[in-house]
Symmetry: C2
Subunit: 281 residues, 2 copies
């Protein structure tokens, strides 16, 4: 197996997949050589490759685990060197663009998205148990053999995930709502408070790390480079939701300005219902 | 002791304070008679009073634990019936208005705010361990005897909280940032998604309850009536922050629209720094 992009998700998969006997030896390539060196040191990959072509040559399975914005280039470099019999998968958070690119290059490609991201980063945080009980979305390209898709789904199940087939466009619309928009809200909240952070810490003897603030800003600790790419790659689905979020904040603001208790309570009750429907009681 | 407002926070205090021997018998009054009945049934209070005046007559300690919007009326009703020797405290999330009102009525008042709110509600959820390791802000009114303020702080310490003296205006400005604004962001996010919630649940076999969505919308399950009051009572401090949040969302939206990867990454990196300064690594 070749792992292109040796970070938190790819590293966790390599550890889990070897531990469960899903793959044998794993070769790693990363544009950041220190990441590959750390992966070799930790035993996440057996060997550091000098290039994508070097890594994928002779591989039966290629996992593209680079940030979403680097996936197209990784796919190009893979396509020119990989065996036609090899299966290529990814773990990106946006699926329609990569599915289209892989199909155009004639790769045997199965798009994957394990819902296992956290604010952790880097191969040092890689965790063989990361995928246990997490959903892994599986997108089959048009014309892909069902047996290959099933084998990829089974591999995810063996590392503990629950594989779920989904259409790429539906995936991107749904993820914009349940994952990408929460990241926008969390980054915006943490950004709003960033300038006052020192003063707030000084005003509070024990620091302001109450649970509300901690939970709502947890994912604002996520990698700026990773989320920049996801936001841009999925902006067709995401932008209308960001506009709605902006307008919700504005409507709440107006109700506060007007001292309109009934309007404000109705908004909060609607948010209550949304939370309950989405996450349960 | 008289407990005015028999809900989650007041009920938890009554349980904890009796368990630790901080108070003896506790009489409860709530405008919602079913809440008082449930409190008697659970043993949270020994007796249900018929009115605020009935509850506070003869009490050494009065805790006002009504929602912030009902505190002024509870204070008025308390002032006309309470013994001049009694100490009155509250547990509200906004401190400057209640401190001014209590001072104007000549009460022996110590403003308290235990940072122990969760999205739970009602006396049924009351929990004697709620205040353990939580900060409880203490606001002394001008002219209050230091010995009384110290006794109130010591009572909070005995139920497990860490008492921290703070100026009421500073309290309200800081809480607007670290608690009230996160609630605005969380309610706005859940509200934005409320209309699509059914469709999202149908599109996802296991439901969309990923951890990002779960954590960022947790406090959007909080009581609309409680938070309507807090937002309105503290709007002088809160509104400028809500305007900044709205503008942060708008700025992120523009960077996405323009495909401006550098601007977007800079915003996310600033949010990263804000999160790290506020909550730690």
């Amino acid at each position: 197996m070749a792992l292109i992009g040796v970070g938190y998700i790819g590293g966790s998969w390599a550890l889990a997949a070897r531990e469960r006997g899903v793959v044998g030896d794993c070769v790693g390539y990363d544009s950041d050589a220190t990441a590959t060196a750390a992966a070799v040191e930790r035993g996440v990959v057996a060997r550091a490759a000098a290039s994508v072509a070097d890594a994928v040559t002779g591989a039966d399975l290629v996992m593209l685990a680079a940030p979403v914005g680097a996936l197209a280039a990784a796919l190009d470099a893979t396509a020119v060197a990989v065996s036609p019999a090899a299966v290529v998968i990814d773990v990106g958070s946006v699926k329609a663009p990569i599915m289209a690119a892989a199909t155009a290059r004639g790769l045997r490609f199965v798009g994957c998205h394990p819902m296992a991201g956290t604010e952790a980063r880097g191969v040092a945080a890689a965790d063989a148990g990361l995928f246990v009980d997490r959903v892994c979305f599986i997108c089959a390209a048009a014309g892909m053999e069902a047996a290959i898709v099933d084998r990829v789904a089974a591999a995810w199940e063996r590392v503990g995930a629950r594989a779920a087939a989904i259409d790429p466009a539906v995936h991107d619309a749904v993820l914009a709502a349940v994952s990408h928009l929460p990241h926008v809200a969390s980054f915006a909240l943490a950004g709003t408070l960033a300038g006052d952070a020192e003063a707030l810490c000084q005003a509070l003897p024990s620091g302001p790390a109450n649970t509300s603030l901690r939970d709502t800003t947890r994912i604002a600790a996520s990698s700026p480079a990773v989320w920049r790419d996801i936001f841009l790659e999925n902006r067709a689905s995401l932008l209308p939701l960001v506009e709605r979020l902006e307008s919700w904040v504005a409507t709440m603001k107006e109700a506060m300005k007007d001292g309109d208790a009934a309007a404000l309570e109705a908004l909060l009750a609607e948010a209550n219902r949304g939370r309950r429907r989405l996450v349960g009681p």
